[in-house]
Subunit: 353 residues, 2 copies
């Protein structure tokens, strides 16, 4: 720290992303990436765009991609905002809808970037403890002072909250915004997008980093009431007029259009997840019922930290948080069937040793 | 506006980017893009990366690109920060170094995004009028309360401020940060990067959107003291861990490495600029001595607004601002020789009609 840092820089408590290790043949089950590549049509669309006008600025309004997303979700482009990954979209949401001095609510076990945004933008927050079974205490999110944000499915618990419960939270926060962060929703049952037509205080955030296998391209989007989207556009145009580059716009548009590939890979991951969950259960793990592309698990005898470390020695990365009340849990991203077989083989050896 | 907007959303006065018109055969001299494509090696590097791991997050630390930039500018990677275009980098600089309640200084005629950042982050600012010849009044920037920011060359005036003057401003702001926004520096003489080794309160921002022809890819960077770069990294990691995607990292790295192509296209643009300036002068324009990839000009009889409008009717776009004291000036980006010939032909017809 130097005397030159602003108050904002001094108070910031930055996010720490999952490990990115550059090593061949590592089995990387620690950052919830998709084990399958993006659609071949996405690769073609980007390749076609590469030689074409990279010298020119991209569209600042991103109308093409917004129209494509809108058609897919049966809304209009005025209901859609696009940003440079859902993290940027979350940042603009904190900027556009939450105020210093009005306390917002989010779960105590959740995406660890929320307190980082609150800290940097000086938003007061209160965390609501999850219940003993890690489900959300829905009524505790009623009547917030400044707004509500939570992921659905929640991370890292993988648990899905039904639309009735979400609707109850939205109804009981009629003067404030409720942000539902659906990063993993495509691996669950039903999105809250349908509720955005009924409620003008609900924002639904999604990402192309997980189910659409484009973490490396950085695309997040939001669906909500036109007046809320207008606020996000104001935030973008006060920060960076062109947050999404030409190649990302081309790839993301095609990723939405190739629905067959999306359905096929998503279903494969869900099938592998259920098989993994059953196998882990048979090995003495308690595995939460997952609605995401990862599972959250604890073993009856093997400490989570030792499991994490011993897997790491075998070049298998999973995520260990080490904080109460999840200090004995690990989060395991779902890889290919082959990767999960190698993971299960390693876990079996470690446990039985 | 709705009751749901934050105070920040309400007070924002968003930036309005130059027109992006999707029309074939338009001559686009309005947003200072490079008329030449990026290096063929950049296209190859991106094409090679497309099929490769887009499903995985990019490097959050961007060490590869930072090391490449550092080697080019003879600094270390700890002196380099990279962001999603220089607009994002400017936003992080406002967040990381300027504080509400401490007035910052910038010229009254300058990049129109500065007051937007100040407004959204609630930073008080005072604008220093340019002198009658549009040069900066250097001493008026001494002893700021909260910091200084200006482009060099300045936009839209195209005028270059010498390093002696920059050093004087930096020396007379020893308790505050001076940000020199060098978006157009490669078309001028000398960068202030060399001064960052001597002064711990100087940040130099550059972009790959202009001289490196990658506006469509979104890459900006900063060179400065390690402690200042650390503050920018904190801002990034409190906002978006992965602001630069895999394809942009690959393309930007190669763009720095292919110095021959960069030197060749930059020199061509400078040659075309000087030729354009001479021709415009012979047509009765006063053209400021440009150190950028655009010229700033006013005609002795033809009003700027009429010129802008009549060129637009002929599908030639230039930038007209229409505000005092530059209401009779136009900004003309330098295109290819062929584009500038067509531009000059059209201007000649309009003036002589």
């Amino acid at each position: 720290m130097t005397k030159f840092w602003s108050e904002m820089a001094k108070r910031a408590e930055p996010y720490v992303p999952g490990e990115q290790i550059n090593k061949e043949n590592i089995i990387k089950l620690n950052t919830n990436e998709n084990p399958y590549p993006p659609s071949p049509h996405v690769i073609t669309a980007i390749t076609n765009e590469v030689g074409n006008n990279l010298r020119l600025y991209p569209s600042p309004t991103m109308e093409g991609l917004r129209t494509t997303i809108a058609a897919y979700y049966n809304v209009t482009k005025e209901n859609v905002f696009v940003g440079n990954g859902s993290d940027e979209v979350l940042a603009f949401s904190f900027m556009g809808f939450f105020d210093p001095g009005k306390t917002i609510l989010f779960p105590d076990i959740t995406y660890s970037f929320y307190p980082v945004y609150a800290q940097v933008f000086d938003i007061a927050y209160k965390t609501i403890p999850l219940q003993a079974d890690f489900t959300m205490d829905v009524e505790a999110f009623f009547n917030s002072e400044g707004g509500v944000i939570f992921p659905n499915p929640n991370a890292p618990t993988s648990l899905y909250l039904g639309l009735d419960d979400i609707e109850a939270i939205v109804e009981h926060n009629e003067d404030n915004i409720v942000v539902v962060d659906e990063a993993y929703i495509d691996f669950a049952t039903e999105s809250a997008v349908s509720l955005t037509k009924k409620y003008d205080n609900l924002l639904v955030i999604q990402t192309m980093s997980k189910s659409r296998a484009l973490a490396g391209l950085r695309i997040g989007f939001v669906i909500g009431n036109e007046e809320l989207i207008a606020a996000l556009i104001r935030m973008k145009d006060s920060f960076n007029s062109y947050p999404v580059d030409r190649l990302a716009l081309a790839g993301a548009t095609t990723a939405i259009q190739d629905d067959d590939y999306f359905q096929w890979t998503t279903q494969k991951i869900i099938t592998t997840r259920e098989r993994t969950r059953q196998t882990l259960t048979s090995l003495g793990f308690h595995v939460l019922p997952s609605a995401a592309n990862f599972v959250f698990a604890t073993h009856e005898t093997m400490p989570a930290k030792a499991l994490y470390e011993q897997l790491r020695e075998r070049d298998i990365l999973i995520r260990y948080f080490g904080t109460e009340p999840i200090e004995n849990y690990v989060r395991i991203s779902i890889g290919t069937d082959e990767e999960m077989d190698m993971f299960i083989e390693a876990v079996t050896e470690i446990i039985e040793r």
